[in-house]
Amino acid sequence: MSRAAGGGSWFPWLLLTPGMVFLLFFLVAPGVLLMALSLRDVDGMLMLLPSYSLAHYASAFASAGYWVALGTTLWVAVLTALLCLLLAWPAAWLLVTTRSRAWRTVMYVILISPLLTSVVIRSFAWIVLLAQNGLVNDVLRKLGVIDAPLGLLWNMKAVIVAYVQVMLPFAVLPLATSLESIPPALPRASLSLGAGARHTFFHVLLPLTIPGMLSGAIIVFALAAGSYVTPLLIGGRLQPLLPINIYQQALQIANLPLAAALSLTLLVVTAAIAGLMSRWQKQWERRVHGH
């Protein structure tokens, strides 16, 4: 991209300013202040003291509870990402290979309309489904499979199922894009060389969709690691998840500095893992495409 001669590019710079100013005030500054906040001491009444220390980090890392919460959060996020990838394959494959334009539009609507609905509603739907007098229990009882209603809510399994359903579109779309960019001659070449469908899938299709899968995994992982609305509604307050702890510390216990410390910890760990996956993606692209 070459710069225009004469006059320079002052105009785009001018246009960049409002956005940058906004982000400076409301993304950068809060971030910096949050870091500062996490280092402020509090007294017994949780009022801010003028002194700074690492007390909050120390108490967090010394407490088994927070380690468990962090570990569970990451584990749940990774599991969600893996499950999403697994389920994304049939969905993406169907999306890419369907001949009918009408059916493809239907699939897109099913994939994208949840993204435009509030997460609280998507979570609520699961409550309606899984509650004691919800739909699943209703159907199972009518079918005679069970006598008493099952307690399907208020556990981590329900949270993960809800996570997968909420975040699945974020895994399907990049995978579908990746799949579509594979030249159809490649699987044909594989067949012509004697490979069956399974061999072709594992040795040609799967490797070539690694960038799409990693994109999806990064998004799902980041979303799952930071979610608190869904697990609160479906899993209950007692789930050992760090975002829930942060929410409780900030809005219910009002220990903002501790909440800040926990947030930054979560942010750093999430960013590190996401960054690692992103690096793998770039390495793969460089190996296969040269850039």
């Binding site: 710069r3 225009a4 590019s9 105009f11 785009p12 246009l15 960049l16 409002p18 956005g19 906004f22 982000l23 409301f26 809060p30 202040l33 949050l34 389920l87 994304a88 049939p90 969905a91 169907l94 999306l95 290979t97 001949r99 539009t105 609507v109 099913i110 994208i112 309309s113 435009l116 609905t117 509030s118 609280v120 509603i121 998507r122 609520f124 739907a125 699961w126 309606v128 489904l129 007098n133 919800g134 739909l135 209703d138 159907v139 359903q165 699945l168 579109p169 980041a222 690691a225 930071g226 979610s227 509604l233 942060i246 929410y247 900030a250 800040a260 947030s263 979560l266 942010l267 996401a274």
Partner: protein
């Protein structure tokens, strides 16, 4: 090319695999659709809980919504926010996207990632950070605070859709305009903007829908006087069970589909995400 992938009438046993794949894919889409089905069943069910198969059809929960002043107030708050946030985000996002597409400097990719970062930063972190800053500024719990939060979350969507439109646009049209003597500003308003209108419209729709449905950051920024619809739904589910929520949810979903249609007509679904 998409059509080539559809030419799979090979000889031999490929057919069995294909049917298995279609079945698996279909099941996944049904799984995705499940909550929507449930909500619609509930919203129109005369009982407080959904029936399957549905026994009868009723609009009582929609009526109950309109009768309840608390819900109507929440609707008002959400609507006002939407009217403020959408134009604000659209302007900020469009200008930023344009600038990033036209400038060429070393940290450009990094800056673009930075602008898109609210998508990936855990919203609980965004919520806390904003809460702290707004409290210090005395804006905690105000409409202004909420507007700022919504704009922050919606901004990446606008930047993304406008960037897609920009990359599909023929830049020579801008050169031609300047060649004919127009200033950069004039070119921008009279040539570029009309050409990227689909991306702007899609971005605006995303911003509106995102603001209307935003809850994760809003929970940190609301006060009793500024309760939005999603926040109210959250507290309601948390504390009681009001079937009106089903009706509200159904309405949300319809809105989402309408928004989708608009996005598809302007930018095209495949490119907007």
């Amino acid at each position: 090319m998409a059509t080539d992938h559809h030419d799979t009438n090979t000889s031999g046993a490929g057919g069995a695999w294909r049917w298995a794949g279609v079945a698996a894919g279909g099941l996944v889409y049904l799984f995705l659709l499940l909550p929507v089905v449930v909500i619609f069943l509930s919203a129109f069910s005369p009982q407080a809980y959904p029936q399957f198969p549905p026994a009868s059809f009723s609009l009582r929960w929609f009526r109950a919504f309109l009768d309840n002043s608390a819900w109507l107030r929440a609707l008002q708050v959400s609507a006002w926010l939407l009217l403020i946030v959408t134009p604000l985000t659209t302007v900020l996002g469009t200008t930023a996207a344009y600038a990033l597409a036209r400038l060429d400097f070393r940290g450009r990719e990094l800056l673009l990632s930075f602008v898109l970062s609210p998508l990936i930063i855990p919203q609980v972190v965004l919520g806390i950070a904003l809460l702290y800053v707004l409290t210090a500024a005395g804006l905690a719990g105000s409409m202004a605070g909420l507007a700022i939060g919504h704009t922050l979350v919606a901004l990446p969507y606008v930047v993304r859709t406008v960037s897609v439109s920009l990359s599909g646009m023929d830049r020579r049209l801008e050169s031609a305009s300047q060649n004919l003597g127009a200033s950069q500003a004039y070119t921008f308003t009279h040539v570029t903007l009309p050409l990227i209108r689909p991306g702007i419209v899609a971005g605006a729709v995303f911003a509106a829908v995102t603001s209307f449905g935003e809850v994760s950051v809003s929970l940190f920024l609301t006060a009793p006087g500024t309760v939005t619809m999603p926040v109210r739904i959250f507290t309601y589910i948390d504390q009681t069970f009001d079937p009106v929520v089903n009706a509200v949810s159904a309405a949300f979903i319809v809105l989402a589909v309408v928004a989708l249609v608009i996005i598809e007509r302007t930018v095209g679904l495949t490119k907007a995400i």
